[in-house]
C-alpha cells in the first residue's frame, strides 16, 4: 500500500430535488481527503459537511461497498463508475485523482432510468425485465450430485461470466442509444448456456426482449461502449448469443 497523502478536490455535483424538478450542477469543495479513502467515503465526508451546515445531503445509491450488489452508480468525469476500468464506483479510490482537480458527478442519463433525486435513479426497469423471464420456472428440487448433469468447462465458465452481471446499469448509462442489450443478453446467456435453463431459452429470450422494448430502451448499434464500461467485464459475445436465441425463437414460431 502506498503512502497516505491528502487532496483538496472540487466537486461539481448534479442536484435535483425530485423526478419532475429541474436539476442543476452545484460546486462543493472537500479538503484534506485521504488518498486511502474510497470515492463514497469522500462523498460521506461531503455530506457530513452539508449536514453540519444544515444543507440537504447529496442523495446517491450505495449498499455493499465491495463491488457485488450493483446498487451504486454515478457518472464520474465522463465515465460510468469513474475513471478506472472494471470496477464499481464503491471500489473507486481517491488515489486515482489529483490534488485540486475538479470531479464532475452526474446520475445515469437514460429515459429508462429517470432521476429520483440528485444522483439516485430508478432502475426498477431492470427488475421488470428480469421478472419477464430471467428465471427457470421448473422445480429444480434438491441440489444434484456433482456431475449428475454433465456440463462442459467452457459452458460453465461462460455461464459464470454472464452471471457476473450485477445489473448496475452502467451499460445503459454508457450507451449513446440507451440500450439495455448487454444486461438482457447476460441474463439470457447465464441460463441458455446451462441445461437447466436451456429448456425455456426461447420463451425467455422473447419475453425479456419484449419487456426491454416495452420499457423504451434503445436499439443496440454495437458501439461496444457497454462492454468497455461494464464493471464486471461482461462481453458483447453475450449480445450475439441473445440475438441468436431471439432470431431462432422467432423463426420457430
Amino acid at each position: 500500500m502506498g503512502k497516505e497523502s491528502f487532496l483538496n478536490v472540487n466537486l461539481k455535483v448534479w442536484r435535483q430535488r425530485g423526478p419532475k424538478e429541474k436539476g442543476e450542477f452545484k460546486t462543493y469543495r472537500v479538503e484534506h481527503v485521504s488518498t486511502e479513502m474510497s470515492f463514497f467515503e469522500m462523498m460521506d465526508t461531503l455530506n457530513e459537511q452539508l449536514i453540519n451546515k444544515h444543507e440537504e445531503p447529496i442523495v446517491f445509491d450505495h449498499d455493499c461497498r465491495e463491488g457485488i450488489c450493483g446498487t451504486c452508480s454515478l457518472y464520474i468525469n465522463g465515465r460510468p463508475h469513474g475513471i478506472d476500468n472494471a470496477i464499481t464506483t464503491c471500489q473507486l479510490h481517491m488515489r486515482k485523482f489529483t490534488n485540486e482537480c475538479t470531479i464532475t458527478v452526474e446520475p445515469w442519463r437514460s429515459a429508462g432510468f429517470p432521476v429520483i433525486r440528485d444522483l439516485m435513479v430508478d432502475r426498477s426497469a431492470f427488475d421488470k425485465i428480469q421478472q419477464a423471464g430471467g428465471y427457470t420456472s421448473i422445480n429444480c428440487g434438491a441440489a444434484q450430485d456433482a456431475n449428475a448433469i454433465l456440463i462442459s468447462k467452457v459452458d460453465a465458465d461462460e455461464a459464470m461470466d454472464s452471471a457476473s452481471c450485477i445489473g448496475c446499469g452502467a451499460c445503459v448509462a454508457a450507451c449513446k442509444n440507451g440500450s439495455a442489450m448487454l444486461f438482457v443478453s447476460a441474463k439470457v446467456s447465464q441460463f441458455a448456456l446451462l441445461p437447466q435453463g436451456r429448456v425455456e431459452a426461447a420463451r425467455r429470450a422473447k419475453a425479456m426482449v419484449a419487456k426491454m422494448d416495452e420499457l423504451g430502451f434503445g436499439n443496440c448499434t454495437n458501439t461496444r461502449a457497454c462492454e468497455m464500461e461494464c464493471p464486471k467485464s461482461v462481453k458483447i459475445s453475450n449480445i450475439a448469443r441473445l440475438n441468436r436465441e431471439f432470431i431462432k425463437a422467432k423463426l420457430a414460431d
Binding site: R109, G112, M228, E229, S237
Partner: protein, 228 residues
Amino acid sequence: MWLASSSIGRKVVMSVTGASLVLFLTFHMLMNLVYVYDVAFPAADGTHYYDKVCEFLGTNWYALLGTAGLGVLVVFHLCYAFWLTVQNRKARGNQRYAVSGKQPVHWAAKNMLVLGIIILCGLFAHLAHFWANMMYAELAGVEGQYAPTAGFDWITFQFSQPLNIAIYVVWFAAIWYHLTHGIWSSMQTLGLNGKQWLDRWICISYVWATIIVLGFAAVVVAALVQGM
C-alpha cells in the same frame, strides 16, 4: 411482425439489407475492374471488354430486376436507419451528460448515420453520372454524349472532371468507414459472432472494406491514366 415490432428484428432488417448491399458492392467493384483491364491491356481493334459487360447488363430484364431490388434494399436500409435513430434518441432521454465521450468507441460506430447520409449523397451523384446516362437513357431513348452502352467512354469522361474525383474520394472514404463497422456489426446482429469470432469479423471487415474501396479507386486512377 417481429422484423418491425422488436428491436432485434429491426436490427436484423438493417443487417440483412446492409450485408446484401456489401455483396452488391463487391460484385460492382469486380465488374469495374474490367475497365482497369481495358486501360492496362487495350485491345488492338479498339473495342473494350467493359462495354461488352455494359451491353450484357444494359436494360435486360435481369438488370432491371436487379436495379429494382437494389432500390428496395437501399430504401429499407435507409428508412430503418432513421427509424432506429429516432428511437435511440428517445431512449437516451432529453438530459445529456455534461462530460461525456470518454470511452474509446470506434469513430465509425458513433457516426454510422452521418456516414450513411454522405454515402446517400454520393449515390445520387453516382446515379446522375452513370445510371442516368446509361440505363435510364437507354430506357427513355435519350441521346447523350456517348451511347448508353459505352461504359468505357462514360467512365473516362466522368473522371476527367476534377470535381467528380473529389466527390468520389469523399464517397469512398465514407463507404470505407461505414463498412469497417457495418460488416462485423451485421454479423453480430445476426448472432453469427462469439468470443473467438469477434476479432476475426472485425479483421474481415477492415480487409473487405479496403479491398472494395481500393478496387473502386483503381478505376478512378485508371481513368486518369486513360485521360492523359
